[in-house]
Amino acid sequence: MPVELVVNVALAGTLTGLVYGLMALGLSVIFGVVRVVNFAHGEMMTIAMYAAVLLFAHWNIDPFVAALPIAAVFFVLGYALQTGLINPFITRPEHSQFMLLVAVAIIMVNGLLVGFGPDARSVQVEYQLESWALGPILFDKARLYAAAMALLASAALFAFFRFTLAGKAIRACADNYLGARVVGLNVHRYYALTFGLGSACVAIAGCMMVVLVDVTPVLGPGFTLLAFVIVIVGGLGSMPGALLGGVLIGLSEAMAGLFIQPSAKSMVSFALLILVLLFRPQGLLGRRA
């Protein structure tokens, strides 16, 4: 097996992994703060992908440009979802909240199936097949742009949580629900804000992803699971962990596809999940609860 092939596949996997990481970041933020298992996460990503497909098909808008308005819409929708559906459920038992989002996910996936049919759709931008060569190493332009945007979005999110008042308030709510309420924070509004942010992340990740893979309605559950694997492997409550986890999963998937068999890609991710749950449940960068 030529080294260049391995390196190129690894590179592609890493870049894709950064997009995965952004998707997982959205989940990490939601799960870490609101403590709701967003079972509809992957489905939301799929919807974003379809939105990008539509905007490209009808108005020729590049997904990287479409990402911003789509993210804005998703922010609003996420905010609404949390406020309308999930906030009233905060006090209910865990499996009740979970079921709620399972229901939402089912509606989303099958709604897409009804609306778009089962056939694959894709976005073909002009630079889709171009790449830069650095010696024998090939950098796919599309993949590079996607990874760059994912990093940019992540950085923006980090900055938000670090430097803004709202970000700090959200971190307070995450650390101590009761305490935050006692000091007068409107926790429910911050939860909604967080869900909105997480949704926006997922939207951007979706717009990136549609440049890399074709979209079908049934991608949803796979992405949800992948997002959870990444968050758990990277570490709950750790934003860098989500990115790291994403890169790790992207890389291992690519390597598994190369060395074992393309269909075995997901098996590696699950094996990783099982291993992490058993031996380091707080994840690579997570704090022990």
Partner: protein, 328 residues
């Protein structure tokens, strides 16, 4: 049980026993499906409703049960009644592995659910690569439509399958009723309600949780065996799919987790309504893939939001059945 429940139960029993006599093939197949999901839901309920462990990967046991018995029949001609034991053993082993890994390492709640999903998905992809069992192309058992009942090989008319499923469903119901009132039932519910308090009262929670998982797995494996010999074809993509796992839990969640009638009621409601919707849509010409599932999702949403304990407890209260409404 008070008089009302007894009368209702008797009517139900009579109706179920005599169904094949007056029902057409379509209705028979629908009720068989209801019984299938009632049974599988009841088996899942043992883990969740009784012991409080949320499994979202129960398709694993259906699949393993189906493939083991079908594989034995396909390659060695071993009939289902012997194959059942191998299926149960395989599923109990799988359940034991998951349970041990989860409980030894303190994985619970959402993480446990994710673990079960991961195992099911892992197995799904794995079976796609087992060529001896057909791989992704599927495993097919010879179909022989017979008018006579060959119970030994589970070959026969739809009525035979109906009675087999009915027996399974009734058996599961009886087993769960008995379990609920036994030491196991009390201990499981204690663990479900508050594991720490349960331990302080002398309950070895690890052992009892393992028992719940293994029993649930064993019961579910029988559903898999039935599935294999009823449909006669198995595909990893279908049988291990997460949608299958979700279908299994829809009944109990809608009907009422932890109750005895919940899974049955839920399965009945869901199947009947789904079929009506399909008919309606066909009449309107709106036959698209996925419409039925959107409907499932909406029903689930409504039930989870407004009837968090499921339909059965509320219904039981209305009809004046049972002591502590919904507990029985």
């Amino acid at each position: 049980m008070n008089r009302r429940s007894l009368v209702l139960a008797a009517l139900l029993a009579a109706g179920l026993l005599l169904l094949p006599a007056f029902a057409g093939p379509y209705l028979l197949s629908v009720v068989t499906l209801i019984l299938f999901f009632a049974y599988a839901g009841q088996a899942w309920n043992v883990m969740m409703g009784f012991a409080g462990q949320l499994s979202l990967g129960h398709s694993l046991y259906v699949g393993i049960g189906a493939y083991v018995s079908a594989g034995l029949f396909f390659h060695y001609g071993i009939g289902p009644w012997a194959g059942i034991w191998a299926s149960m053993l395989a599923c109990v082993a799988a359940g034991a592995v998951i349970g041990f890994l989860a409980f030894r390492f303190g994985i619970s709640g959402v993480y446990f659910a994710l673990l079960t999903i991961a195992f099911a998905e892992f197995t799904r992809i794995g079976f796609d690569h087992i060529n001896a069992l057909g791989g992704p192309g599927g495993l097919f058992i010879k179909v022989s439509q017979r008018e006579t009942w060959d119970l030994l090989n589970l070959r026969g008319p739809p009525a035979m399958f109906y009675y087999v499923m009915l027996a399974l469903a009734v058996g599961a119901f009886a087993l769960c009723t008995w379990l609920l009132r036994s030491r196991a039932g009390y201990y499981w519910q204690a663990i479900r309600e508050n594991e720490e308090a349960a331990q302080a009262l002398g309950i070895n929670t690890f052992r009892w949780k393992m028992l719940a998982v293994m029993l649930s797995a064993a019961m579910t494996s029988l559903a898999g065996v039935f599935f294999a010999f009823y449909y006669n074809n198995l595909f990893p993509e279908q049988i291990f799919n997460i949608s299958r796992s979700i279908e299994i839990i829809l009944g109990p969640v809608i009907g009422g987790v932890g109750t005895l009638f919940g899974p049955i009621l839920g399965a009945a409601v869901l199947t009947v309504l789904a079929d009506s919707i399909t008919e309606l849509l066909a009449a309107l010409g709106w036959e698209f893939p996925g419409v039925k599932q959107v409907f499932y999702g909406c029903v689930l949403l409504v039930v989870v939001m407004f009837l968090p304990h499921g339909i059965w407890p509320a219904l039981a209260r209305r009809l004046g059945l049972g002591r502590t409404a919904g507990k029985d």
